[in-house]
Symmetry: C2
Subunit: 480 residues, 2 copies
């Protein structure tokens, strides 16, 4: 492990973070809040630490996969540590555990909050909180489409060829080029959503914050009642539309914008993504249309919003689904494991992996009937290579092991079964709101300190495709 | 599909079933009950149907895997159908759904009951109910050690070479020979347990019924309070010991009896099985020793009993674990998925598969660090072949798909989340008692009719390694 290179790059990223911390300052000043002081102090501390880390280390030739894994995981940790400073310094979240949890929840685009009264926060901090989502989403897009495929993680290896940007063997130039293109798309979509939300009645501040939460599939809102506070069908449908876009592979947006109008519907994963939304809408709607909403339009608005919000792992809320039937809650719980498409900002196992797992089971059944037949798993016309198949299956098993371990720990810390299942699924899948005592109208404030650290670790693992984090615990990883 | 051969063999098995139905008659007469009439009538009906099926069909050369799959699944269905007749004819379980559920629960060695007052049943029916377990266990041993490995299902392919009996290419002579040896072991262990239970104070009737429940890892008791009714540490420990034996690969018993004294501890799966028991005992004991039992001996007795009873998928009870901490309940819930060893009468995914899944995840992590290394998964010194690995992974994914679907259906039928999770896990894993409204002191009487059929189907799928049943739904299966 070349620690020098790793710390060098982390230092560079911290400088970027310190600049980002200044962005909320104008909002703080405009609304006459005092929190700009905390933001500027935090920014200063981060800048100094970043520059020191950058200056006292040296970039050592090229990066190998090992350093790539270390930078990704440590990057999210460092961001969550320094990103929590504004909350601590301002005194609005005095506990380090709580501030770290909230910031990790932001950067991992989870959206689980320990705040009992969100609206009590001053505007600078609220903006910073939402901005952590947007920055996290930016990181994830580059990670999933440009970095992880080359490290052999993330299921996107399948689409190496489909990623926009120049095809090159060296990691760095390719990442830079791909990142620029994808960030352009991300920025464009964010701008359009902000404008639409303003046209629908939000002020600039709220529109920006909710755009950050949407495009990153994060879910932090500026309101205690989340998106439901606006009570506007127009806003709901705008956000539904952009949650779906955010849960879609960003390279499809790129191709669509370049004039390939059929890019979406030619894509197997996107079609399966739409199918899942349709099935979930039917299953949940069978309950909500009958038992909760007499007006079918309202039924569609509320049901579709919740289905899309959970499936894309955003976690915005317009209805308290804990009043819906157990079957509906269970459908939403299942969606938490599926998540968005690969190459989107969504979390979870990803739609393409679920699709491949289903096809794998079918191929095994066929193989039992025809023991000597070769039954490859295909996605579209591409055969899934053995190592990718192994990686997907390994992730699925590991995800389940971590889920079960997480639920046990949370139950041992005193959570009831529903809440433990809900909290672990919602954090590991990067959704935010879960079930039971961490449901859509609750928050994570009451979770014991140890539990908050466990959940923060689950957010990180879920966000980084699990393997990226787990690999750091392998002794051979650290060998020279 | 050669239907003639299939029906021919099913007819033969029905004749065997009709003979088995006469076995409880002496107990009915001895205790002066009237239920021997129902048993004899049911036996007569089964005999006539069996003989007709046997006479009007012809065995067509050799059996192919297709016919093997059909016979196994249809065999369990036919047994559950005819086996339910004594309950219906006697009038003690008037509903066909209930009687079928109870009998399927018996033959699949699940032990889930719809009876609200078990002790109200006459002795002949009680004996028949427990005997269905023992017959089901007999079927499973042969199935898992002699038939399924040759059909490419069940994870025991790994141990083809380890199965006792002559090595031959033809299926039939090998099955016959292996079956004889294994049934000898099964009979011997059953006889020893019966004698020990009688020495510990049970009468012959209770000793036999509880032996049937133990050796088949079934769990039907003759008492409403299950094994707890005897309130005897000696009985508890005898049953713990034999539950462990029943959850162990029967070919190990065979080798041990032949003088290979280290057979058990040389076996990787058995060591992992013991490790799981140890870990579960620690995790659950951390709660029960501290919060529920002031006497450490009683704590060990009750905790170990429940851990072994659930892990081996027996489902006998001596304590109401629903009063234990949520973390303890969750540990037991997790054990439901693991189950016994391959080649035992236990259900669940099987210990060896869980072991291989863990090793598979490790191999995937190593492969990420060394992308060009070949990292085979080993069990002991044997490399797990690719097709077996695929089969195990496929089963795991399929098991989860079926679990999720089952929970949704049960929730849609009105069960709360805990009960739906518990009922589906307990039936799919062939345990019996679950959580919530189907916990250890409850029963399945209140489940809606549709739900009972779904759970009965889950028992069958769980018992027959899922693929064996699912394959019948493949259209190509039925093609000429």
């Amino acid at each position: 492990m070349r620690f020098g290179s790793v710390i060098h790059i982390l230092g560079f990223l911290m400088v970027f973070l310190s600049v980002a911390m200044v962005i909320p300052v104008p909002f703080s000043l405009y609304y006459g809040d005092q929190d700009y002081l905390a933001l500027l102090s935090a920014s200063g501390i981060t800048l100094v630490c970043g520059i020191l880390a950058f200056l006292f280390t040296r970039f050592d030739q090229e990066l190998r996969p090992k350093e790539g894994f270390a930078i990704v995981t440590l990057g999210w940790l460092v961001f969550s540590f320094f990103g929590s400073l504004p909350f601590i310094i301002s005194g609005y979240i005095p506990s380090f555990t709580d501030a770290f949890f909230e910031t990790m929840s932001g950067f991992t685009t989870t959206g689980a909050t320990i705040l009992t009264d969100i609206e009590a926060l001053p505007h600078g901090l609220l903006f910073w909180r939402s901005l952590t989502h947007w920055i996290g989403g930016m990181g994830i897009i580059v990670l999933s489409l440009a970095i992880l495929p080359f490290l052999g993680v993330g299921g996107m290896q399948l689409f190496k060829a489909e990623v926009p940007g120049p095809v090159a063997d060296k990691l760095t130039p390719r990442i830079t080029e791909t990142a620029k293109i994808l960030w352009g798309v991300y920025l464009l979509l964010s701008a359009v959503e902000t404008i639409l939300l303003m046209l629908a009645g939000m002020n600039l501040f709220d529109a920006l914050c909710h755009t950050f939460g949407t495009m990153a599939t994060g879910g932090f809102s500026t309101r205690n009642a989340s998106v439901g506070a606006y009570n506007s069908a127009l806003i709901d449908f705008i956000i539904i539309f952009f949650m779906i876009l955010a849960g879609t592979n960003f390279s499809l947006h790129f191709r669509f914008l370049r004039g390939d109008w059929r890019a979406y519907f030619r894509n197997v994963e996107f079609r399966f993504f739409m199918t899942i939304i349709g099935i979930a809408l039917l299953l949940v709607g069978a309950d909500t249309f009958r038992n909760h909403y007499s007006d079918p339009f309202e039924g569609l608005q509320k049901t579709l919003f919740q289905v899309v919000s959970i499936l894309t792992t955003t976690g915005f809320g317009t209805a308290d689904y804990e009043h819906w039937a157990f079957s509906s809650q269970f459908v939403l719980f299942t969606l938490m494991f599926i998540g968005g498409c690969a190459g989107s900002t969504g979390g979870g196992l990803k739609v393409v992996r679920i699709f491949i797992l289903f096809k794998f089971v079918f191929s095994e059944i066929v193989r039992l009937l025809h023991p000597h037949a070769v039954v490859p798993v295909r996605i579209g016309r591409t055969v899934v290579p053995r190592d990718v198949m192994g990686n997907i299956l390994g992730l699925f098993v590991l995800f389940m092991i971590i889920f079960v371990t997480g639920v046990f720990v949370m139950a041992a810390l005193g959570l009831d079964i529903d809440s433990a299942f809900g909290a672990v699924a919602a954090c590991l899948g990067n959704i935010g709101p879960g079930l039971g005592s961490v449901g859509p109208t609750d928050n994570y404030a009451h979770i014991p300190t140890a539990g908050k650290w466990v959940l923060a670790a689950l957010m990180l693992m879920g966000r980084l495709e699990v393997f990226t984090v787990i690999i750091l615990f392998s002794p051979t990883f650290w060998k020279k």
